[in-house]
């Protein structure tokens, strides 16, 4: 069964017809040619497909496209302003926070979404005081980023890159 939906991807509204079984990830990659989000596991276990949906980080392989009709999606590609990289992306370059690069767009989106969550006061499993403003030390960053796997082992460089962007 097909359904007509529209997604705003990196600022551009796109209309498309999708199989109702199509995930947001496959809609982006196979229907719209937006291949910045990656498919690493298709089960929400690796985080490579992470984008920001209406500002919040979402694993698109676990989201059905028909359930996201009208959504505003920002991928790592859209985070950059033309050739001008987002500060988080610049930090990933400066700290060599990647090797093969396959998990990287997801790490970048997740990091930006995570900073917003912390800013909004969301606690994590390692937060001691659940009511105080969140202080994003290394342990907090690692905990909050643990849904984004990196097989090349760039974790220590990724954390250094993210720390640069903590206000």
């Amino acid at each position: 069964m097909e359904a007509e939906i529209a997604l705003t991807v990196d600022g551009t509204r796109r209309s498309l017809s999708v199989d109702t079984r199509t995930t947001v990830l496959d809609a982006l990659r196979e229907h719209l040619g937006a291949t910045s989000p990656k498919k690493g596991c298709d089960h929400g276990q690796c985080g490579a497909c992470t984008v920001l949906v209406d500002g919040r980080r979402v694993t698109t392989c676990l989201s059905l496209a028909v359930a996201h009709d009208g959504a505003e999606i920002t991928t790592a590609e859209g985070m950059a302003d033309g050739r001008e990289l987002h500060p988080m992306q610049r930090s990933f370059l400066d700290h060599d926070g990647f090797q093969c690069g396959y998990c990287t767009p997801g790490q970048v989106c997740s990091a930006v979404g995570m900073l917003a969550e912390a800013e909004a006061g969301w606690p994590s499993a390692v937060t001691d005081d659940l009511t105080a403003p969140v202080e994003l030390d290394e342990a907090e960053i690692r905990e909050r980023m643990s849904g984004n796997l990196c097989r090349c082992g760039a974790y220590s460089n990724i954390v250094a890159a993210i720390r640069e962007n903590v206000r």
């Binding site: 992306q89 690069g101 097989r151 954390v159």
Partner: protein
């Protein structure tokens, strides 16, 4: 120092002179002028990755992302028995699904020209050799309909008894080296150790699954493939389909990791190319799912390894015995050689090293980061820690005391060997001298704390057969070679090597890799990429300057190939390293944390300090992951890996990784190759898990001899 055959005895200048039409190399003036204000490149600089902006935005195209017109999608059907025959296949319901273009089975699939490699003889017979093997495949217009139709294929089987478990005994001898008399030395020594250790089955699990886009044209087969070597794919695939090598075009500009599993083509590639013969000319796309990867794209064998050590009362080894047992798929023999490194690590007059292989009804084994050396050094370095303890000698000092002067097996000198320097430098940085040797005595709150050390090594190879082409145009130098960058930093490092060899700034070099349109390159494996491809680039640069000097005409072009190394037979060539770890084990739960790891390596010249550090840390992180988590659990009843996804097969996540530092000592080795590099892709993982295990013993007094170091093993 300039990277050049002129400065390196590793290159035959005679051969080079012939290549360049008889020009004497010595007569060529070095390039003095640089076209830009920036200085000529020097190896070792810290360079940002050339592919970096594309990687952080996600715009670097991986194989599956290559845009193609009207793609068809493949979804396979996998065997649900571990051994036997397919007796019936009903494809009627699958074929009735709208959008299905073809259903392939062994009864209707195109015949392959060469089925000698049983792993690649896909859908050529009714035999099932392991659970998860391909028995059918659906090609459809959408991924959803392909997957749905694959679920509707009904397969009947005639099941036969199978065996997948590896015990401590059995197997056929694969290799054996004997020096002296191991038994006699064990019988007469003051201190002896005789232990058996196991390491589990492991899976490479690169983040990018194995993917293929296959399309047949009038000229042959075009493949967009996630591979560590476009030419490896071509040379293996061409005979399978009865093609000339030139009829197979392979593209892989960006590769999302491999760690060995993408070193050689596996069955999914062949299946996709077969299916593309039944798709009406449409390109066929297949991304192996994460679950399917556990049966179809290679794995590291489980091992059972017996180590015997004998020493005098001063801690000098008199004997080293290492007997390794591995499994191999019944249909394709492959051995890691887990006991190999025990040949060269430590001095001892008596030595026996054996390797046995046990055929099992399991998926095909293959390369995984530091094959052989990773599991083999894990157990040797764990045993060395046990032996140091038994001899009452500090484990750093114990290793230094048993340092060999020459390669113990071949009797050849080492081209360079700086294990002792790595151990000493690591000990200094890690504050090792303040370590209390007693195990299980330090407690901070609920946590038991310890530190450990282990040595690393990996052989230095140059694969013959790479060529490079350099072309000058518009003031820039384009370098062409069919190499692959799977995250290693090859895009950048090869440009650095070319810039140094040409004596031009890095900024005027444009590398072109990842395509069979470019000159032949060997596989990115065995830590040989930079050593092999770089050697070809240096040769091409020399040839270029010899032909054109420093003011080349527009369009000037020269080629060069990897040359034989006359020193290869004279020296034993290896990289070495020392790994240190601090471990905390929770006294009540056995939870294990690793707050600190340090690796110090002696791996020849480092090309790019930034990416080298990342690669070494990456290897150590994978070693940490091996220590704490990785274990593919084979179900002996059904023959499959039970935990076949990231929820079940854990790899290290952000939360596992605290401080990890990698450093290297300045090592100049004039014998290995023109650059003096030794390769760094693998050594980072070697010994890392042993350092963690040895630290866990120091923390708790509990010696875990079976990886991984899961909490229950510390609770007594």
């Amino acid at each position: 120092m300039r990277v050049s055959p002129r400065n390196s005895p590793a290159f035959g200048t005679e051969a080079a002179a012939v290549e360049t039409g008889g020009t004497s190399l010595a007569a060529v003036a070095p390039a003095e002028t640089a076209p830009a204000e920036v200085a000529p490149e020097r190896l070792g600089a810290s360079r940002e990755r050339l592919d970096g902006p594309a990687k952080v935005t996600g715009t670097a195209p991986y194989a599956y992302e290559h845009p193609v017109e009207e793609p068809a999608y493949l979804h396979p059907v996998q065997a649900t028995i571990a051994r036997g025959r397919v007796t019936s296949i009903d494809t009627g319901a699958a074929e009735a699904v709208p959008g299905v273009l073809a259903v392939l089975t062994h009864t209707n699939a195109p015949r392959l020209a060469d089925t000698e490699d049983a792993e690649l003889a896909v859908l050529q017979s009714d035999a099932v050799a392991f659970r998860g093997q391909f028995v059918a495949a659906v090609v459809a217009e959408t991924p959803e309909s392909a997957r749905h139709a694959a679920d509707l294929v009904r397969v009947g089987y005639g099941e036969q008894p199978h065996e997948v478990e590896l015990g401590p005994e059995g197997g056929t001898p694969a290799a054996r080296t004997d020096h002296g008399d191991l038994e006699a030395a064990m019988a007469s020594a003051a201190v002896v150790l005789d232990r058996t250790y196991t390491t589990p089955m492991q899976h490479n699990n690169p983040m990018e699954p194995h993917t293929t886009i296959a399309q047949w044209t009038a000229d042959g087969l075009t493949l967009h493939e996630s591979t560590q070597g476009v030419y490896s794919v071509r040379s293996v695939v061409a005979p399978v389909f009865g093609l000339d090598p030139e009829q197979v075009q392979v593209f892989a500009p960006h590769v999302g990791g491999g760690f060995g599993s993408k070193g050689l083509p596996h069955a999914p590639l062949v299946l996709t190319a077969l299916a593309a013969q039944r798709s009406g000319g449409r390109p066929v796309k297949f991304a192996v799912t994460r679950q399917q990867m556990f049966a179809l794209t290679g794995h590291r064998t489980p091992t059972s390894q017996r180590i015997r050590l004998a020493a005098d009362d001063r801690g000098r080894l008199s004997a080293i015995g290492h007997d390794a047992l591995e499994h191999t798929a019944r249909i394709k023999e492959f051995s890691e050689g887990s006991s190999t490194a025990s040949g060269i690590m430590y001095a001892a007059p008596n030595r026996r090293i054996t390797q046995r292989l046990v055929p099992r009804d399991v998926p095909v084994t293959s390369w995984m980061r530091a094959p052989g050396h990773c599991p083999g050094m894990h157990v040797l370095e764990t045993a060395m820690d046990e032996m140091a303890q038994a001899c009452g000698v500090d484990p750093v000092e114990f290793r230094i005391r048993n340092e060999p002067e020459l390669d113990p097996l071949s009797g050849k000198p080492f081209s360079s060997r700086n294990l002792v320097a790595c151990l000493r430098e690591g000990a200094r940085r890690f504050d090792w001298q303040r370590r209390d040797p007693a195990a299980g005595v330090r407690r901070e709150g609920d946590w038991l704390v310890g530190t450990g050390v282990a040595a690393s090594t990996y052989p230095t190879h140059v694969f013959p057969g790479s060529s490079a082409r350099i072309r000058y145009e518009g003031g820039r130098y384009a370098v062409f070679i069919g190499a692959a960058d799977l995250g290693t930093g090859a895009w950048t490092a090869l440009a650095q090597i070319a810039a140094e060899a040409l004596e031009v700034p890095f900024e005027v070099v444009d590398p072109h890799i990842g395509s069979t349109e470019f000159p032949t390159a060997t596989v990115a494996g065995g830590s040989t990429g930079i050593t092999s491809w770089g050697s070809a680039i240096v040769q091409a640069a020399t040839s270029f300057r010899d032909q054109y000097g420093t003011q080349p005409p527009e369009g000037a072009e020269a080629e060069g190939a990897t040359q034989p190394n006359p020193d290869a037979e004279r020296f034993s060539m290896h990289a070495f390293g020392a790994q240190f770890a601090e471990v905390r084990v929770h006294a009540d739960t056995g939870e294990i944390r690793v707050p600190r790891m340090l690796g110090v390596f002696a791996a020849g010249r480092i090309v790019n300090a930034r990416t080298a550090r990342s690669q070494l840390i990456g290897g150590m992180t994978m070693g940490l992951s091996m220590a704490l988590h990785e274990h593919s659990v084979l179900d002996s009843r059904f023959g499959h890996v039970v935990n076949h996804d990231f929820a079940g097969y854990h790899i290290a996540a952000h939360a596992d990784v605290d401080s990890i530092e990698a450093a290297w000592i300045d090592e100049h080795d004039p014998h290995v190759n023109p650059m003096g590099t030794k390769g760094i892709g693998e050594i980072g993982i070697v010994g890392a898990a042993a350092a963690v295990g040895n630290a866990a013993y120091h923390a708790t007094g509990v010696r875990v001899r079976d990886l991984p170091l899961t909490p229950e093993k510390f609770l007594r």
